[in-house]
């Protein structure tokens, strides 16, 4: 019961945070230079005609009125209408948001599997060749730009070897699940890269520390095997911090995904928001930012609950 109550309380707390986020995104949009009508028409229309179009879109109303209208739209009008696309904001964002989730999930999976694998190998062979080699890899990889790394992958695997497609989510004429997976591999790896290497370091150092602890030395002296010792005992002890790191890295990963989407033309929310920012499409920018903020908050909450569940010492009564 206590846990449920705690989760409920955390959920309630999300609301004021979202409110603050909504006010900030609204104000940042309005108070920075540029507006959607000017962006589209300044080259060919006279300033008076542009004012007329602005009126038609309600952009000359007092700011507070525009804000209140938008908040209302969030609940009843699909997030308001995109000024540039002339369609309800959530209709535009939703499919792209799901695509971003797919890519993020692939990234998290690759990050967790490969990151833990590298970290474990390195930690288990502390100061031996495998450790030094994988840490060199980690060191180099951590300094790559995601953008550049993505282009390298395209060049090697799509243009030269022709194993995988360059861009998008589906081949000509559409394809099944296999086609989607083929499109997911390169962007997934690019998205996971940085977080994966951060995770590898944490896992490695976690294992190295555990290996110096008394319980480990005792077990080892009694002849406990390497793998079962790692899995049963070391693994359990380092699991909560690892989950914590993964939770934190999901945030980094979402940010990375926005770049990756551009390189691989993954039709996600990042591409969408970039377009919206370029066109200063207020309702779309605001809707997108609120959606992403909501994601962060939920991921945070889920991570906390998971860590609590994994670590009895943190459990609340």
């Amino acid at each position: 019961m206590g846990t449920l109550k705690h989760i409920g309380w955390r959920l309630v707390n999300i609301l004021p945070v979202l409110l603050i986020v909504s006010v900030l995104t609204f104000l940042i949009g309005r108070l920075t230079p540029g507006d959607p009508i000017q962006g589209q028409y300044a080259r060919t229309f006279s300033p008076e005609q542009i004012e007329g179009i602005r009126d038609a879109y309600g952009l000359n109303l007092p700011l507070w009125q525009q804000y209140v209208k938008w908040i209302g739209d969030l609940f009843v009008a699909g997030g308001g209408r995109s000024i540039v696309q002339e369609a309800p904001v959530f209709d535009i964002l939703w499919p792209n948001f799901l695509n971003t989730l797919v890519l993020t999930a692939a990234g998290v999976l690759i990050c967790a599997v490969v990151g833990i694998a590298i970290g474990t190998v390195a930690g288990a062979h502390h100061r031996r060749f495998a450790d030094r080699f994988s840490m060199l890899f980690v060191q180099v990889g951590s300094n790559l730009s995601v953008y550049w790394f993505g282009l390298i992958l395209i060049w090697i695997f799509a243009l030269q070897l022709k194993w995988l497609p360059v861009s998008g989510m589906q081949s000509r004429g559409g394809g099944g699940f296999g086609d989607l997976l083929a499109h997911l591999i390169l962007p997934g790896i690019s998205a996971a890269l940085i977080s994966m290497l951060v995770l590898a370091r944490f896992v490695r150092i976690g294992i190295v520390q555990e290996k110096q602890s008394d319980y480990y030395k005792t077990f080892a002296s009694q002849g406990a095997g390497g793998l079962s010792l790692l899995g049963k005992h070391v693994g359990r002890n380092i699991l909560p911090p690892v989950v914590n790191i993964i939770g934190l890295e999901i945030g980094t990963l979402i940010t990375g995904v926005l770049f990756v989407e551009s390189v691989f033309n993954w039709p996600g929310i990042g591409t969408q928001l970039l377009n919206a920012v370029n066109g200063k499409d207020y309702p779309l920018i605001q809707g997108g930012v609120v959606l992403i903020a909501l994601c962060y908050l939920v991921v945070n909450l889920v991570t906390d609950v998971a860590v609590d569940a994994l670590n009895p010492r943190l459990r609340r009564r």
Partner: protein
């Protein structure tokens, strides 16, 4: 830039590998010979756009990338001849078969094409046209669209009435002569392209773009903003049967990714080829047709900066600019220098006219006369980050005539806001636009007003533009526009720079594509060879 070059080198390596190993490239050079046969029907044409198109609504739409999609769905009363590569394009019948104007130039009568249906099967007739007209001009109409009306005001602000004469005849009456009307009707944005009124009657004005319907050769199937737009062949099309079954437009803003997707065969056609990629593409057997759209890149002054009140300063900055060198160095020669504000392909374009030729000595002398010695004149060039290299190039050019330029490089929206709301010390900003209609001059000039130019300060220009726009003499019209352009040119209110001569790239199996002397293309004539 670095990654760009790098990808170019990479692509060149791939090209070399393909040639050396003799392996077959699906979209590569070997198919070229097999292609020159009879046109074939069928297949899916995949087009890579560099910008997300705007709403697919005939009266709200803007941007050429939007029209490259939507002109497959919507048609106008007239159309430009999209097989003409030199221009000015001829105006051809589309949803109207014939048209005539009253002697005083104010009243246009259109005979409408018979036997045309919208994509839902409903009839195209004078009543349907009337609903289109009322949507953009009649506040008493139930589906009057304020947003469309505001956008079309430039051409329809002087419309006094639209009248259904009979089922196949319609009359537009304007308060002033408007001889440019038929060509304006064939344009892409802020004009009366025809949509199916049944759609806004059912879904409302805001709902139209979700269910776009017209009379064009392709029908709308689906759209995912940020990803793709899918169209299918209109089996009932009144004109020549289009070749490909479906057209998929994919939106790929990243230049390198769009190029790589074409190279890998995922796309058949792309827009906005970068000058540094032309050689790579041609080396691999891709088509990069030569041509010119009806547009130009131009530099405009910040008229709120007192330095530019002096015409000598404005002239000096034109004399100080070597546009041939700009085309050669910055665009690898895939651009042509421009000297007139009317772009190539425009009906009033004269390729012979020259403004102020490259003459740094004269530029320095003019600046001296205006009171600026070496290093006395300093200002900023405000650019979109995508044009940073152009700004750097200009900076070095102007250094040679003793002008100090500082570069302010901004993201696209901030750039537009700053360019059209300049700060005191701002000097120049960059734009690209144009069209085949002579009236473009008045649009371009109106745009300069947004940069602080007060039209009242240039009565000769506004007078010449008004005279040309509202002449009732068809024989004098083009000459009047030419003379308006000359007036504007002599006042040096804008610096024309170049226009691009490579813009689209196609796979080797794409046939029938023409880059016409306008800013879009006709995909209904395109077919795919095996």
């Amino acid at each position: 830039m670095r990654t760009n070059r790098w990808l170019g080198v990479g692509a060149a390596l791939v090209a070399a590998a393909v040639v050396l190993s003799g392996c077959s490239n699906p979209a590569g050079a070997e198919d070229t010979q097999a292609a020159a046969g009879e046109p074939q029907y069928g297949g899916d044409l995949v087009v890579g756009l560099y910008l997300e198109p705007l709403a697919l609504d005939p009266h709200r739409q803007g941007y050429w990338e939007t029209y490259r999609v939507s002109n497959n769905i919507f048609e106008g009363l007239t159309r430009e001849d999209t097989t003409d590569t030199t221009g000015p394009t001829e105006i051809q019948p589309a949803l109207a078969t014939d048209w005539s104007v009253s002697d005083d130039g104010t009243t246009w009568t259109f005979d409408l094409r018979d036997g045309v249906t919208f994509h839902d099967g409903s009839d195209w007739n004078a009543e349907a046209l009337d609903k289109n007209v009322r949507r953009i001009s009649d506040p008493t109409y139930e589906f009057y669209d304020e947003s469309s009306a505001a956008k079309l005001k430039q051409w329809f602000g002087t419309l006094t009435s639209g009248t259904v004469v009979d089922d196949d005849t319609y009359q537009f009456a304007f308060s002033k002569p408007f001889l440019g009307f038929p060509r304006i009707l064939a344009q892409s944005m802020a004009t009366l392209t025809i949509g199916n009124p049944a759609v806004w009657e059912q879904y409302g004005n805001d709902g139209f773009a979700d269910h776009p319907e017209g009379t064009g050769p392709y029908k709308f199937v689906s759209r995912t903003v940020g990803d793709r737009i899918e169209l299918e062949k209109n089996e009932e099309y009144w004109g020549d049967e289009p070749y490909v079954d479906t057209i998929t437009f994919r939106i790929i803003p990243n230049n390198q990714t769009r190029l790589a997707s074409l190279l890998s065969g995922e796309l058949d056609l792309i827009s906005y080829v970068q000058p540094e990629d032309v050689e790579t593409l041609e080396a691999q057997g891709f088509q990069v047709p030569e041509g010119t759209g009806s547009s130009l890149l131009y530099i405009s002054y910040n008229f709120t900066n007192p330095a530019f009140e002096d015409v000598r300063v404005r002239q000096a900055l034109i004399h100080g600019l070597d546009r041939q060198k700009l085309a050669d160095e910055l665009y690898n020669g895939y651009a042509e220098p421009q000297y007139s504000f009317q772009p190539p392909g425009n009906e009033a374009y004269d390729p012979e006219v020259r403004d102020f030729e490259y003459d740094p000595e004269k530029a320095i002398a003019l600046l001296e006369e205006a009171g600026y010695g070496e290093g006395d004149l300093a200002f900023t060039i405000v650019v979109d980050v995508a044009n940073q290299n152009t700004a750097e190039w200009l900076q070095s050019q102007y250094k040679e005539i003793g002008v100090d330029v500082e570069i302010v490089s901004l993201d696209r929206t901030s750039y537009i806001a700053r360019a059209y709301g300049p700060e005191e010390n701002d000097g120049l900003s960059l734009d690209e636009y144009g069209g085949t209609y002579a009236e473009w001059l008045s649009q371009g000039f109106a745009g300069l007003a947004g940069k602080g130019l007060d039209p009242a300060d240039f009565p000769e220009i506004t007078g010449a533009i008004d005279a040309a726009a509202s002449t009732a003499d068809p024989d004098a019209r083009i000459d009047l526009w030419k003379s308006a352009e000359e007036t504007l040119r002599n006042e040096a209110v804008v610096i024309p720079t170049v226009n691009l001569t490579r813009y689209y790239a196609l796979g080797s199996n794409v046939e029938g594509f023409v880059w016409p002397a306008t800013n879009w293309y006709d995909l209904s004539k395109v077919w795919l060879a095996d």
